[in-house]
């Protein structure tokens, strides 16, 4: 009874808060009435400044590249924390995997999934996509290995050391490009102008494709490490 009263009371308070919020939000000006100088600038000059056809990628890896560096540091911190918390467990769950049909089908499909992941990463400045999105697709391959072929297969083919090297390598690529910006252009993470080729080609837009590749490997390996840490069990439970 006490619980029911509490529940009713909190629901009433939340409903009142929702009504107040709705009233406040309806007082907001529409999007058209806002002062949006920076958006207009980016839409008008973004292609000219960065050479990237995809303006969202231009914002992420050129105008706000320092923020993206902090973002990938957050992923790095999360991965480090998860591995630290779950670090006492060394052996993965020794699952046998799914049936023969599923194994053969995914054996044919997996290279294409990888190809699509690399496509999304490398064409981040030309079409929708980029490092974060493509990295998640690459991480899905590791998850497929673990579920379909059993986690021992994943451990042998794509060991945690490889994932660690890939993640650290991606982060270092980002940092090295940032430092090269200091040496060559005079500011941290400034777009390297001498790398720019003709617009619309694969190797255009200065340092943006290289940052995309670094971030893609970093996110892919990081999410795979997170998944791999979470499916581990303790030594005693397995044997």
């Amino acid at each position: 009874m006490n619980k029911l009263v509490k529940k009713t009371l909190i629901t009433a308070v939340l409903a009142a808060a929702a009504f107040a919020l709705y009233y406040n939000f309806s007082l907001l000006p529409g999007y058209q009435d806002l002062e949006k100088g920076i958006s207009d600038y980016i839409i008008t000059y973004g292609l000219h400044d960065t050479g990237s056809l995809n303006l969202i990628t231009a914002v992420l890896y050129d105008y706000r590249a320092f923020d993206s560096l902090g973002e990938s540091t957050v992923i790095f911190g999360a991965v480090s924390g998860i591995v630290l918390i779950l670090s006492r467990k060394m052996l993965p769950v020794s699952s046998k995997g799914l049936s023969f049909i599923v194994k053969r089908t995914l054996g044919i499909m997996t290279p294409f999934i990888a190809l699509f992941g690399f496509y999304v990463i490398t064409h981040g400045h030309l079409s929708p996509g980029g490092g974060f999105q493509g990295g998640v697709i690459l991480a899905a391959i590791s998850i497929i290995f673990s579920i379909v072929y059993g986690s021992a297969f994943d451990y042998r083919r794509y060991s945690p050391q490889t994932k660690t090297v890939l993640e650290t390598g991606g982060a270092l690529t980002f940092l090295v490009i940032g430092l090269a910006g200091i040496v060559m252009e005079g500011a941290f993470l400034k777009n390297l102008g001498f790398l720019t080729a003709e617009r619309g080609t694969l190797i255009s837009a200065g340092s943006i494709p290289y940052i995309n590749i670094g971030v893609g490997f970093k996110v892919g390996a990081g999410l795979a490490i997170i998944f791999y840490s979470m499916i581990q069990k303790t030594f005693e439970e397995d044997f």
Binding site: L14, A18, F25, I56, L60, I85, I226
Partner: protein, 111 residues
Amino acid sequence: MLTNLIFIILFMVGFYALIMKTNLIKNVIGLNLMEAAIFFWVISFSDIGGEVSIHKFGETMGKFNDPVPQALTLTGIVIGASTAALLLTLIIELNKFSGTIDRDQIEELND
């Protein structure tokens, strides 16, 4: 108007799950629901019915949607996924120590 309504309903459902449910995994789901509501609002608010903000090579484009909120939302999604993964890891460890993921039962264990 519909945007605000959906945003507030989603946000309040998430907030309710965060404070009222005793299952810790449901709390994490509530937190993610609140994040999703905010992303939904930011993207729909800045949608003026224009083109996707990607130039097509060699064509002059019409009016673009604002790329800045979309880039900010991408940042937010990544941070949200990282925090959710860390929270779930902490819940896994808590389950190993206390044998339960229910907030009330964990409080009783402390007494």
